[in-house]
């Protein structure tokens, strides 16, 4: 039989004899088989574990988009957990047979500590940049929501790393601002030049049109003159006509001379 079949078979056998699996039973025991509270509590704890893991991944995440997505997910999970905590609290207060008073109090404390732990989860050390809507179209301000006092206070969990990160972030922001100012100046100059060029072109348009029409007229004049000149020159140069003229003239002169001689 094939490998796949083997695997499916093994799986089904395992499932059948699960109750004989000691490790699993122990886990199930630990995870509170007797009441709902323990079960819910353990589920909360596991969720918290995964969330902590995620925050650690997040702080080491370099890809900004992924970081943002992670951040969002962390926040979502956190909100869900916080919602579930009251339910847990109610369960904790319910009396369950087989449990002493102290254990009941312990459970209450556990719930409260769980809640604190959830709330303490940092939502990420990079605050979102606030883009304020501007009334005047040029008043674009960045980082309006980020005020330094919030960052300095204990709003965020402070570690050495996060402090360094914050400083670096500040420095980079300052450099970015400088760069942007430089670009803005250059753009201003460009804009001014472009507008001046625009006006200059507007100014020169009718002049160029005038030149155009004048040159057209001159060109047509030249063409007609050329044609006439050509006609005249061909007429002159046409040697046949010329020779005929000369010979006829000579003949005339000869005849005149002959007549003159004969009359004399």
């Amino acid at each position: 039989m094939g490998l796949v079949d083997l695997i499916t078979r093994v799986d089904s056998i395992c499932k059948k004899y699960e109750k004989y699996d000691l490790d699993k039973q122990r886990e199930a025991n630990i995870s509170g088989d007797d009441d709902a509270f323990s079960r819910l509590y353990s589920s909360f704890e596991s969720a918290l574990e995964t969330l902590l893991q995620k925050t650690e991944d997040f702080s080491s995440e370099t890809n900004r988009a992924k970081a943002v997505a992670m951040n969002a997910e962390i926040r979502r999970t956190k909100a869900r957990l916080l919602e579930g905590v009251p339910k847990l609290q109610r369960l904790a207060l319910k009396k369950v047979k087989g449990l002493s008073h102290e254990e009941l109090d312990v459970r209450n404390d556990l719930v409260l500590s769980l809640r604190e732990k959830i709330e303490d989860l940092p939502e990420g050390s990079v605050p979102a940049n606030g883009w304020t809507a501007s009334t005047s179209y040029t008043n674009i301000r960045f980082d309006a929501n980020l005020s330094d006092d919030r960052v300095d206070s204990e709003y965020f969990q402070r570690t050495e790393e996060s402090d360094q990160f914050k400083q670096e972030h500040e420095m980079r922001r300052v450099k970015q601002d400088q760069g942007l100012d430089f670009i803005a100046e250059g753009l201003d100059t460009l804009k001014n030049m472009a507008q001046d060029i625009n006006e200059e072109l507007d100014r020169q348009e009718p002049l160029v049109d005038e030149i155009d029409s004048k040159i057209d007229r001159a060109a047509t004049d030249l063409k007609s003159t050329n044609v006439r000149l050509k006609d005249t020159v061909t007429k002159l140069r046409s040697s046949r006509n010329f020779c005929i003229d000369i010979t006829l003239l000579c003949i005339l002169l000869g005849i005149a001379a002959f007549i003159y001689n004969s009359v004399k």
């Binding site: 005047s136 040029t138 803005a184 100046e185 201003d188 100059t189 804009k191 001014n192 507008q195 001046d196 625009n198 006006e199 507007d202 100014r203």
Partner: protein, 291 residues
């Protein structure tokens, strides 16, 4: 033909004088002689005589009903007069040339002639220069070629600024604005208005500047422009007496795109720190009066 320009001159003079033997002056021949004589004089650097020759040549052309050539000769005569620094002749010749050009129906060369005259007289007789500039602008406006007038307006305003007549300079900038409005040259228009406001501020006239700003804000094109923002920043800085802000605005790129003369004024702008503070004190007093 004698190559001596003097002889040519005398010959041409004789041709134009009416005597018993000569009943009508021979302007054509005379003009030719005059032109040749002028060239001869110019070659030998006798500018005074060349100028006289050109004058007479121009007269000859006028008699022959060719105002264009006449105007051209007049301009050359005026240029020579400029070299010789005979200023009133410069103005007269250029004016005559301009009139002749107008006779030809060519407004642009006419105003160019007046412009050249004005530029020549800027240093020496600024009032005359201003008059010439104004006339040149009028000629262009009558012909409907406002766009060519921009440069003339700007030059005229800078002459006024040199004479420290700031109100007049600002008026000229506003006239520039009107001309620009007719041709839809919004950039020049806005720059003209901003220049006017700066000139008023330089002349310690905050009220006028504010009035000017309010008037200009009625105009759409100005309202939507960079220059509008710069002007409002400047005026608020003045009202608050904030010298740092004034200096910052004066060095901003919008101001750097204006005319050279205006940039110099803007750099010097908080003209006396006292004025800014005084304005402030004045405002305080008003508030007290109201309460």
């Amino acid at each position: 033909m004698s190559s001596d320009p003097e002889k040519m001159m005398s010959k041409a003079d004789k041709m134009t004088k009416l005597t018993l033997t000569r009943w009508s002056a021979d302007w054509r021949g005379a003009t030719e002689l005059y032109e040749q004589a002028a060239n001869g004089f110019r070659a030998s650097s006798k500018y005074e005589k060349a100028k006289v020759a050109l004058e007479k040549a121009s007269k000859g052309q006028e008699m022959q009903s060719s105002p264009w050539d006449a105007a051209k000769h007049m301009e050359s005569a005026a240029a020579l007069a400029q070299k010789l620094s005979i200023w009133n002749e410069v103005a007269d010749f250029y004016r005559k040339a301009s009139e002749l050009y107008v006779e030809c129906g060519r407004a642009q060369p006419a105003s160019d002639a007046l412009g050249k005259a004005a530029r020549a007289l800027e240093e020496v007789k600024p009032e005359d220069a201003i008059q010439l500039y104004t006339d040149a602008c009028e000629i262009l406006e009558e012909d409907g070629r406002d766009q060519m007038a921009f440069d003339l307006y700007r030059a005229c305003a800078s002459v006024y600024i040199k004479l420290e007549k700031f109100a007049d300079a600002a008026t000229f900038f506003l006239r520039l604005g009107v001309a620009a409005d007719k041709c839809d040259a919004t950039n020049s228009q806005c720059k003209a208005y901003l220049s006017a406001i700066i000139v008023y501020l330089y002349g310690h006239d905050l009220k006028q500047a504010e009035k000017c700003y309010n008037d200009c804000s009625q105009i759409d094109a100005f309202l939507k422009s960079d220059q509008n923002r710069t002007a409002s920043r400047l005026l608020t800085a003045y009202n608050e007496g904030d010298i740092e802000e004034i200096k910052k605005v004066a060095c901003s790129s919008t101001v750097n795109n204006l005319d050279h003369a205006i940039i110099k004024l803007a750099r010097k702008l908080p003209t006396g720190d006292v004025t800014a503070v005084q304005m402030n004190a004045g405002d305080d007093l008003d508030e007290d009066d109201l309460t």
